[in-house]
Subunit: 322 residues, 2 copies
Amino acid sequence: MRAVCVIGLGLIGGSVLRAAARAGRPVWGATASSEDREAAVADGFTVLPVEEALAKAAEADALVVLAVPLPAVDEVLRTVASVAPSCLLTDVVSVKSAVASAVARRAPGVRYAGGHPMAGRSASGWAAGSADLFDGAPWVVATDEEVPAEAWRAAVSLALGCGAHVVPTTSGEHDAAVARISHLPHVLAAVLAATGADGGPLALSLAAGSFADGTRVAGTRAELVLAMCEGNREQLLDAVDDALGRLGAARGALASTGGLAATIRAGNEARAGLVALRETPREELRIDLTDPEAFEDLRSLGSGGGRILRLEGDIAIADLPD
Amino acid sequence: MRAVCVIGLGLIGGSVLRAAARAGRPVWGATASSEDREAAVADGFTVLPVEEALAKAAEADALVVLAVPLPAVDEVLRTVASVAPSCLLTDVVSVKSAVASAVARRAPGVRYAGGHPMAGRSASGWAAGSADLFDGAPWVVATDEEVPAEAWRAAVSLALGCGAHVVPTTSGEHDAAVARISHLPHVLAAVLAATGADGGPLALSLAAGSFADGTRVAGTRAELVLAMCEGNREQLLDAVDDALGRLGAARGALASTGGLAATIRAGNEARAGLVALRETPREELRIDLTDPEAFEDLRSLGSGGGRILRLEGDIAIADLPD
């Protein structure tokens, strides 16, 4: 099995390192954090200076996984370009277009397919990670036209080996989707937490499940939230504008007729749709990866809520809600 | 111990009936739902037609607990006024000013102190309830100047007996607080669910913890949410306006400088404040309920995030964050 070199050993990178090792792959990592390095070494993993880790990856034709926050990506890519300029590369950063541009600019010789596992916790750092973090989770692998097939296969194999299923889609569609289901939730949680706190100690002393749930992700480290939200500015603006429109309409209806039915029923239906999607019977299908149209089929699969469950040679075994 | 008659045997009313029985009180109930009635009877409880239940309460000087949704309150109060016109009355409806006005209008002879246990689940009906629903939860008892001391004591005893602690505050302050920490979360969850669903199956297939948590309460039955939100219109408008202001400011900052730091950091601090309030050491204090200033002291206690833990004769044992 292909070796894996993970750059960045926080919650996500640290969990990738453990999950890849669980899958039986040779693994090593690098991190700028002495705390994460010491913890990973104490857990028995090999942690090298970043140049050494990348040189070893180049020698072994390992898959390099970028697992640093977006603001640190450029600097790591400079080192990649000088030490492992044609390596196989993926990443686990929460925006895809921005990373793809940075790769094209800083390390144009690498064989790159972006990735994004949709799993997280509000805690961060190596200590918060675990080998099973991705079990059953969706993991996006960028399936843009220009992605080299070899890099795509390497990223998909890693994701499946880490226990995830793969959602194939373009960088742009990924960024638009996560703006709505990951970045907007952080913005609304922050707005709710601050608006609630303005009610003073009485309000906070009465806060029960709805407020606790609605503000949970506001407890995430601010730097991580800012990196992902600000790195997806255009798509997040679209999502925030939609939310502002809906909230403004609710405000208008409440002020004029006193009725919130349109808002509450739309939310109720949307939530039911989310639950139903998980319970809908799914149809299995097989996509031949040697077919020249394969990427197009894979993108349709992703757009329809489908996912790749495993690879059997050149065949992707997938399923799709009926 | 004083008997308890619960009108409405859904999630909250059904749980009050069970919790009061657990505390050793004689209990009986009434409900317009044949499903809830059959389930309660099957669980061994006495369920009577509403007139009979109230007549029995008048005879026993029982505490009557109104546990119907706000839109049904007026009709039950008409029956109260004709069958038990001077009974001891409390309620567990999620807004307080609207219920207090209805009581003053429909049943002016009752001895009334409003109440609101801050516990819930997204499921509803008798089957969703349990005797331990209120254990450790805050339970507001309205401590407005005009509340009769006898009714206040009866409502407080019930709440404490059900395992809750009591937060004393005015109806108006309660309504302003729950607009922020209970009703606004429902509105924002609905907005988030609908905005996410607009991203199509791809977006929903990627939804992980932040979206699932942020939309959970959007799964609550729409009628229940509408009753509480629309019944607290003025206070909810204030809260929605604050949220719109904060979301608009986030939008503006993202569009102009690309920065969301002010929004995200304010949310992060507010969430930390919520967590800290729960972990702050608390100072115990004793309030003499025979003191003419007692209600004023109790309202200050509630405003400061304090709560009544138990009664020892005429002394309320309370605590307050340091």
